[in-house]
Amino acid sequence: MSRVHYKRLIIILLAGAVAVVTLAMMMVVLSQEINLYLTPTEIKHRTFAKSQRVRVGGLVVEHSLVYVDKKNLEMLFDIVDQQGTLLKIHYQGLTPTLFKEGKGVIAEGQMQDGQLYAKMLLAKHDENYKPPGT
């Protein structure tokens, strides 16, 4: 390897190392911001302004879904995280196709009296695929 090639190689490797370290530091610092949603446990330990948009994720608790007003699709349900913390969600509107009790959900809206008044509801599904009946 000639001198000029060697020099270029060193420059590329050094620049690459600097880029990786910088990015890794940014990711560690911003890690909480990159997360898409908070869990009910994280919600519990924080206070939110009334106007603040909050995004929460968890599993819809089985048998917790009740319709406050069936005609206007107004509903209440609980979500639970891995720590077992519950959060009540209020939502009015069409639900995504995969929205179901026992399945994952992400809700976005405002916190009020310990409840989330969701404006947006998204269904989360897992990475498993199988035909029916297996």
Binding site: M27, P131, P132
Partner: protein, 223 residues
């Protein structure tokens, strides 16, 4: 040895690659499509829409694969300025861009019908969009073959390589709407009747990359 560093020495090889891969693709793509969109069973939770996996996963997987190959070529090009690496890299770049865009588009349609939204700024979706931006920057900078802009294009390309592990691990490092990995899962995440057509479609997409890449290589060399 020196002879093999010249792009012209690879012309006949590129012709062979194009012919053989095109032949294989013409036989295997119809089988792959028929198998994945008709023969394979429906998914128990998602129904028919899950079939997008047969385009989405190969496109996403190869958009990363092509990028890694391009980065290796970029590294060699920047250090030793081999014309050969430059040509191969520019030959496969548009296919990589297309696959990256295809992964985003199919994902978007899939997301609307299962999650309930076309787009959300979660870590997986955003990092894949960043990859498309890096592909675009590389294409625009190397398009006109100016000396400075070409080198700048390769520098940007190498810089974008850090995005590849971020895309792959985004679903483990942060919480996202996008589910975890199916293909690289530690447990059996996908039933064998769905797994085989998926592998065949990945193979088909590899062939597509080779056919389009070698065609463009032939065109760029003879220019």
């Amino acid at each position: 040895m020196k002879k093999y560093l010249l792009p012209q020495s690879w012309l006949s090889f590129a012709y062979y690659v194009r012919s053989i891969c095109l032949g294989l693709l013409m036989a295997s793509l119809p089988i792959g499509i028929y198998w994945s969109f008709w023969l394979a069973p429906v998914d128990v939770t998602q129904g028919e829409i899950y079939r997008l996996i047969y385009v989405h996963v190969p496109a996403a997987f190869l958009s990363l694969g092509v990028y890694v190959v391009m980065s290796v070529l970029a590294f060699v090009f920047l250090t030793w300025r081999l014309k050969f690496c430059d040509l191969v890299c520019r030959s496969i770049a548009p296919t990589g861009w297309f696959l990256c865009a295809l992964a985003l588009i199919t994902g978007s349609v899939w997301g609307k019908s299962t999650w309930g939204t076309y787009w959300i700024w979660d870590a997986r979706l955003t990092s894949q969009l960043v990859l498309l931006i890096f592909y675009s920057i590389f294409y625009l900078l190397t398009k006109n073959q100016g000396r400075v802009s070409t080198v700048a294009g390769y520098v940007f390309l190498l810089l974008g390589l850090v995005d590849v592990p971020i895309i792959h691990y985004s679903v483990n490092w942060w919480n996202t709407l996008h589910q975890g990995t199916t293909v690289f899962a530690k447990h059996e995440a996908i039933h064998s009747t769905m797994w085989y057509p998926l592998m065949l479609m990945i193979l088909n997409f590899v062939l597509i990359v080779l056919v389009l890449g070698s065609s463009r290589f032939l065109r760029l060399v003879s220019k």
